[in-house]
């Protein structure tokens, strides 16, 4: 077929793939996967017009195409540059690109508060991942960091502008998913901020998706704030019949308790099916959902450390040592403890303990 012929051959870090014309370098590299795929902080496949701003995905183009094999003079943003037939791209094999990326990470971090220990995004933060992979240990920045006042933007979403890296993704979400955009970028340069201008609540049906697309902890879920660390939660794929959206979500559970609901993300941390506010904020009972099974977290995230599936519990050795006798306890923790409820035997609970097991919640 003629269509077959149209495929472009592109070589990225000495690995050749064939992709359709119109594919970006970034997407071609993601086809290869692994380290070859440049990091992307602002590009989002499903959001039209996104990308090109954060500059973390800069790569070196060693040969433009078969027809014009000259190298490109500058590093190019791989998320917004289309491949040409015979293009040769260097990402991790390019000193220049890696050095530039190191610089970008430094630039992104100089005004970031680095408050990861109290940030809800920690553990699933793109900036955290990026700085672990490409950043340096210390900082050369010795000045006061930029801070913003916190803005209240409604009952569901917390805006913490100080953490923002100005990727513009949330602006594109509001433009492309909701019927009206009520927030945007104010001001210019390093004092530009995401804001609603006059303090206004964001209450569109789909506005909750700004939380999912935010690469850092600038936009967080108010119903989940400070409730738990993401890596203590167990992500589960679940769905429900939703009249507004696909209803396909990830539940973040601890035992039976649903701590938060997010849309499902792919291995690049991107959402394919955006979900509505009702699914995200209102359905916080396991009974509301049909659970499909544990979510697979592809990347080497701390969250994957929490997968319980297929783990084998270590063998209890005490009864064996004691010849079958039960150990004699000097103290019954359930009687002494002032924390848990008296009627619950902590060691008798299946799976992790959760808040209903504790006295404080019920007294």
């Amino acid at each position: 077929m003629a269509e077959e012929k149209k495929l472009f051959k592109v070589t990225i870090d000495n690995i050749t793939v064939e992709v359709e014309p119109g594919t970006t370098i970034l997407n071609a590299a993601r086809r290869i996967g692994g380290d070859v795929a440049p990091p992307a902080m602002c590009y989002y496949t499903t959001l039209k017009g996104s990308g090109g701003k954060c500059r973390t995905c800069l790569v070196e183009v060693a040969a433009g195409s078969t027809a014009d094999p000259r190298p490109m003079p500058k590093l190019v943003a791989s998320c917004r540059t289309n491949v040409m037939d015979g293009m040769v791209v260097k990402n991790v094999t390019s000193e220049k690109a890696l050095d530039a990326r190191k610089g970008i990470v430094e630039f992104l971090l100089i005004n970031h508060p680095l408050d990861c220990p109290i940030c809800d995004q920690a553990g699933e933060c793109s900036l955290q991942d990026l700085s672990y992979e490409h950043g340096t240990e210390g900082t050369r920045y010795t000045f006061n960091r930029r801070v913003f006042e916190k803005h209240d933007i409604g009952p569901y979403i917390q805006l913490h502008m100080t953490r923002c890296i100005l990727c513009y993704r949330c602006v594109y979400v509001a433009d492309q998913l909701t019927n009206r955009r009520e927030h945007g970028i104010l001001d210019r340069g390093d004092h530009s901020e995401i804001a609603t201008y006059i303090h206004k609540a964001l209450e569109n049906d789909f506005i909750g998706n700004v939380i999912d697309v935010c690469p850092v902890g600038a936009l967080t879920d108010k119903t989940f704030r400070f409730k738990n660390r993401v890596w203590f939660l167990k992500p589960l794929d679940a769905h429900r019949d939703c009249p507004r959206c696909s209803g396909k979500v990830t539940l973040w559970n601890r035992g039976e308790e649903v701590f938060r609901v997010t849309a499902r993300k792919d291995q690049w941390g991107e959402v394919k099916d955006f979900i509505c506010n009702e699914c995200r904020f209102e359905k916080k009972k396991t009974a509301d959902w049909v659970i499909e099974g544990p979510t697979r977290i592809d990347r080497h995230s701390v969250i994957s450390g929490n997968h319980y599936v297929d783990t084998v519990a270590p063998k209890e050795t005490l009864p064996e040592v004691m010849g079958g006798r039960k150990p004699k306890l000097l103290m019954d923790i359930n009687q002494v403890s002032e924390v848990n409820r008296k009627d619950i035997d902590l060691s008798g609970i299946q799976g992790p303990a959760h808040s209903v097991d504790f006295e404080k919640e019920n007294s």
Binding site: C54, T56, D99, F143, L166
Partner: protein
Amino acid sequence: MGRKLLFENVQVEGIRGYDVYRREGGYRSVEKALGEMTPDQVTDEVKKSGLRGRGGAGFPTGMKWSFIAKPEGVPRHLVCNADESEPGTFKDRYLMEFLPHLLIEGLIVSSYALGSHVTYIYVRGEYSWVIDILETAIGEAKANGWLGNNILDKGFDLEIYVHRGAGAYICGEETALLESLEGKRGLPRIKPPFPAVKGVWDRPTVVNNVETLAAVVPIILIGGEEYSKIGVGKSTGTKLISACGNINKPGVYEIDMTISVEDFVYSDEYCGGIPKGKKMKACIPGGSSVPILPANLLLKTAKGEKRLMNYESLSDGGFVKGSMLGSGGFIVLDEDQCVVKHTLTLARFYHHESCGQCSPCREGTGWMEKILRNIDTGKGKMSDIDLLWDIQRRIEGNTICPLGDAAAWPVAAAIRHFRDEFEWHVLNPEESQKRNYGLAHYADPLEPAVAAV
């Protein structure tokens, strides 16, 4: 005495008004272009003239015009970039203020060549009085049949609109200008697609500087070939230079690009030398974004030849030993000026004007300003100089638009040529608050280049 093409009649009284302008031979190029030439012939003349963009980058105008996409049924636009915000550059203001009809005449001819029926002049908002002058001139031109429908009965329609900018330097970048013209935030677009394919409202667009479009008038009148004979090499025609700083006669001068920098600074016809008999320490030859040069490298190239006021000669030696003609904002610093303070002023400007879209420029410009402020106020460290160098290196070339480069180059050049002065500031924090480093060796004759063995 250089030949004047644009400013030939600038001293004629009342040249700003239509009647005098017409009496002095104005609008002849429109009669010639619309009457005797096809649009392609106009473009060919401009190509032959070798005219290069006068906004700073120096891209050949005729080539830019020939790139414009011509899809069926899609209108094309010409946009005149009058958002002249580069510190040190004020040539376009002068031209628009005194010869508004020359710009309109150039716009009519260029629009005819490009097939633009709606042409915009994007003027920076601070030039409020210039906007009034332009609108009056457009009104006069329209009343006399040079604009509107069926100009000169040749079937060519054209309207010119003046759009007022809102005070952002970044809107002088062509794609940010187009965004602003559409009524959006002035953020540079990611290229490609280039404006020649998808410009304003996704239509093919050419954006040209005021001086470039005005230069089309003499090109049509005397012919491209004749025009290309003025000047040297690829620097053809005349160039407006706005000279300022420590000189006796600041102002806008039209030069024919064959005179030497030394003549330009010291001759009475142009800048008239440095006031109070002081010596020149440094100079930025082409607007604040281009690298600063110490006096010795400015007057002579690294090869020991006399440096001329043109594109090639000023950029001789690359960024290590040369600079750029840029937009022609010629800023002279005498022996009493402090390069550190001067660099801080520029860094502050670029920090303030960064649009904040892409991270290296948004964060890096502010960082550079803070470090420079420390050095300037005597709180700097020796390592700060290397840090500055590293920051500018990581901004340059990694941004969406050239503002990142423009912010990096002045800092890079200042450190490259005036590192002694930076170090002196760091080592003598108290003394540096009381006096300047002075001329030092910056005007000493260059050592003869060592012949390669």
